[in-house]
Amino acid sequence: MLYSTTYDVRHKLFTRAEFTDFSTFQFGYTDPSFAANTPFPLQKRRFKEELISFLGRGTYTLKDRYVFTGTLRVDGSSKFTEGNKYGYFPSFAFAWQAKKENFLKNSYVVSNLKLRAGWGQVGNQGIQPYQTSSNYNNTIYGEDIAFFVSNIGNKDLTWETTSQTNLGVDFGFFKNRFTGSIDVYEKETKDLLQILQIPESTGFSSLLVNGGSIENRGLEFALSGVLIDNKKDFNVELSGNIAFNRSKITNLENSPASIIINGEQQQRSFYFGDNISSSNYFNSPANVFIEGEEIGLFIGYETDGIWQSDDTDLPTGFEPGDVRIVDQNEDGIINAEDRTIIGNPNPDFVYGANLSVNYKSWSLSVLINGVYGNDIANGTSIRLTNPIGEFTNITPETYFNAWSPDNPSNIHPRIGYDFPNGSEAIEDRIIEDGSFLRINNITLGYDIPIENSNLFSQANIYVSGINLFTFTNYSGYNPEITSFLWNGNILGVDWSGAPNVSSVLLGLNINF
């Protein structure tokens, strides 16, 4: 429904109201446990979720250059209980087309200038339905169908709300030969919908809650320019972007507890991320979420070289050649109480650039991207760099440089060092700098001259290299982590990550 009024040339008002009622069904099925045995007919399960939205928007434009927009969204979700179903999400925006002002209208230098400011809220209800009730699920016992309670219902679930304030400027100079934008934002997400790891004495491992708040602040630049523009023969274009983001956990509901940060016991509100594996190695959380800190800092044992033969104050169970784990609480025992912050998976900035060169019939494009300042917990190196036993593969470096009384290494532990097997935490020896610069794509093309052909309208031959070069100090296969991307409780952990494929492509494009 639209309503539009123009009072005179200088004032314009648009209003718009929308209404949607959206429901989706997802059909699940109760699966047979083994392909060979179908103990009961497959059952279809209907998962229904419904969303009602009301949207109202008003836009007021003054003098064709000041634009005010106000929006109100009201969303109702079937996934929450009565009283929590509806969320109200207003937003306001202002834009100033400065280029249209008299003092810039005729400027040769400035070809575009637009300032933007906005504040708004959005809601998130992206959870599975039926989480507010305790549900009974099916299993099998003997040959019979059995029922068991499969979750803790949380009646208090409600919308997760993100409030964002942003300021931005878009600009172009010299007939938009150079363009760019700068954006700053601050956003706070409250009532985070998260799968909280809960005490297993509840009978369950996790609970869906609205817990805590996170603040993100960021600065983003994007610039692009035509460096050489020699019409037909020679063109060079370069563009780049860089983004800085800082996260901070502003509020958690957990009661303060003891945690060691920078060598001192502190009382902080925090929770641990998920355990990485369920076997003997890395069967512990890698991340910790502490109020007042960035999200998902790495937690584990700080190390300080290798215990040597003449050292005297070895903790219980350690011998020369073992890794010298810092006994943070100085009780002579290395255990979970000695965990501390050992790294930060959040990058300082991420960036990318694109170069495009055309020279006569030749064209070249180069795409790079990179990340700077993040740490990676290299889970694979737990087994590769600890000479644990005779049955697991280790790197040659680990084996040939292993500590022995005759070869008192301060880096590589002795053959047989077994502490990480079943350990309560990771050692900071597996935390590595994850910064990298990757030349993601290089394409060189050539337009085959076909002016005299009646058959072809265009023919282009090209060779393209994807992921040819990566500059990084990271020792794992791929610094662009792909493990646990679906899990917000695990950040920056490389666990059996696959290498990133490099490929070279030779191609021919022909148009008739």
Binding site: A17, G28, S77, D144, F147, G389
Partner: protein
């Protein structure tokens, strides 16, 4: 224009009122599960299913119980005595991150949550109809299993969180309770189980005698426990007798070897409390506990016995058929036809892999088997255990019945009680404690029986005999820890410490 707006508002009003946004879950909830006999029976199956999970009797609790008894080691994680499992659990030095410890903790509490949900959802009634009898039986099973599960927890860990109602968001953190409170709850629950279990669900679920036996075990444990662990002072041996004797004569012994063969083991007259295994819901015993390549399936043979334990049985009853039913030391490898010999057939003990007899009884007994799933059920409580309990209790009470019960157990395997049984109460006591070991090796009792009579008993009858065995070889054997604070209870799971604000160690 105005009409348009009016119409629009009308539309919205209509839709907002017609769209209730109410959820109609495709799942059952506790309100409807316990309303009919059929669904309540299925919920009881769900409770027993909780006990066959991988973390519980399906696999990891069996490993935890065997290794933490001081009776054995494992091949899991490598054939050497310094793997994570052997240097921690098997050496009686578990850490809060020991895998089987964490998995068992999670699985036992998961089973308890099912019991709590049932208990919170239904009130027992004065039954009139058969349906009401079935629902009462379901309540009885919930109480029985809650008592049973907490009894496992308190014996392994000591003080643990005692949760007796379904967890809510507000109550996820819970502090540990004193041991005496946990036992008080166990006793109360077991008595309610006795009251409500009526056998109407049937279908392989235990009868109320299982609750009698459980309560007898609880009282026996308390009889020799520190007084701080006892909910109240009392003659616990007498109480134990009164419960155990209710079960006497109800069941009977079958051929010992038949207890562990798939074809003959299920639902026998000896079984008091049995867990079902089927191809679709299988115990993991065949995969994990069948010696490697004893059958054609890829199995792991995780459980090995310390040789001091094996030799003790051999010395007490040299021609006991239980030895061959329990252990195996030589077999033809089904993958390549070679013969695998280990201790004592090959007594060289040249490396870890050939230094111990394998536990055979839990896994597959059939070399032609190729499946890793099994239809062999597992007996949590057997009648011979009850007879040994009666013998031990009677010896403490000196009621004159003690020799009769143990004679029944030995009789079935062609053995007779030795001279130590006629040499006074203390000598009898020492001998009867060994009978549990010979009869029930690796069946999930040793960890409890070895600690039940206190630290001194554990040290002098299990730990030191192993460490000081003349055949002890540090290259293959583990040295058992001797410190009381370390060996008597397991440390709380690290997951619990990390996540429960009220549990710090």
């Amino acid at each position: 224009m105005k009409l348009q707006i009016l119409l629009f508002l009308l539309l919205i009003t209509l839709v907002f009122t017609s769209c209730s946004l109410e959820e109609e879950p495709p799942y059952l909830s506790n309100a409807n599960v316990y309303s009919s006999a059929e669904t309540a029976s299925a919920a009881v199956d769900g409770m027993y299913r909780g006990l066959i999970e991988y973390g519980y009797y399906g696999n990891q609790f069996m490993v935890l119980n065997h290794l933490s008894s001081g009776f054995g080691v494992t091949r899991r994680g490598g054939t050497r005595n310094n793997t994570a499992d052997n240097s921690t659990l098997s050496s009686l030095k578990p850490t809060s991150n020991s895998l089987q410890l964490k998995n068992s903790w999670r699985a036992i509490y998961n089973a308890i949550a099912r019991n709590n949900d049932a208990i919170a959802s239904i009130d027992p009634m004065k039954p009139v109809s058969l349906d009401e009898l079935v629902i009462n039986d379901a309540i009885g099973h919930a109480y029985f299993l809650r008592a049973f599960n907490y009894f496992n927890l308190v014996r392994l860990w000591g003080e643990v969180p005692l949760r007796t109602a379904p967890a809510l968001k507000e109550t996820i953190n819970l502090a540990k309770s004193p041991i005496s409170d946990i036992y008080a709850q166990i006793i109360a629950d077991a008595k309610l189980a006795q009251k409500y279990m009526n056998g109407n669900i049937g279908n392989g679920t235990p009868q109320k005698y299982a609750a009698d036996m459980l309560l007898a075990k609880v009282y026996m444990t308390l009889a020799t426990a520190p007084s701080s662990h006892q909910p109240e002072s009392g003659d616990y041996w007498q109480l134990a007798y009164e419960e155990a004797i209710k079960v006497y004569g109800i069941y009977s012994l079958i051929n010992y070897g038949d207890l562990f063969k798939k074809e003959t083991s299920n639902n026998t007259s000896e079984s008091i409390f049995e867990l079902k295994s089927s191809l679709t819901a299988t115990l993991d015993h065949t995969r994990a506990f069948t010696p490697n390549w004893y059958t054609g399936a890829n199995t792991f043979g995780w459980l090995l016995a310390n040789i001091s334990v094996y030799n003790r049985h051999r010395a007490a009853y040299p021609d006991d058929p239980r030895i061959d039913a329990t252990y195996i030391s030589t077999w033809t490898r089904q993958n390549n036809g070679t013969t695998q010999n280990c201790y004592p057939v090959n007594a060289s003990r040249s490396f870890f892999g050939n230094s111990f007899p394998y536990i055979l009884k839990l896994g597959s007994q059939d070399p032609t088997n190729v499946a890793r799933e099994t239809t062999k059920n597992f007996k949590v409580y057997r009648y011979s255990d009850l007879l040994l309990m009666l013998s031990e209790i009677s010896n403490e009470l000196q009621n004159g019945q003690q020799l009769g019960y143990v004679t029944e157990v030995l009789d079935r395997v062609g053995q007779t009680p030795g001279a130590e049984y006629s040499n006074g109460q203390a000598s009898f006591r020492e001998a009867i404690m060994r009978e549990y070991e010979f009869e029930l090796m690796a069946e999930g009792h040793a960890s409890f029986n070895n600690r039940r009579r206190g630290y001194a008993y554990f040290l002098n009858n299990v730990i030191l005999p192993h460490n000081n065995d003349p055949l002890f070889d540090p290259n293959v054997d583990v040295t058992l820890e001797t410190t009381e604070d370390i060996v008597m209870f397991l440390p709380i799971s690290q997951n619990e410490i990390d996540r429960n604000e009220l549990v710090t160690e």
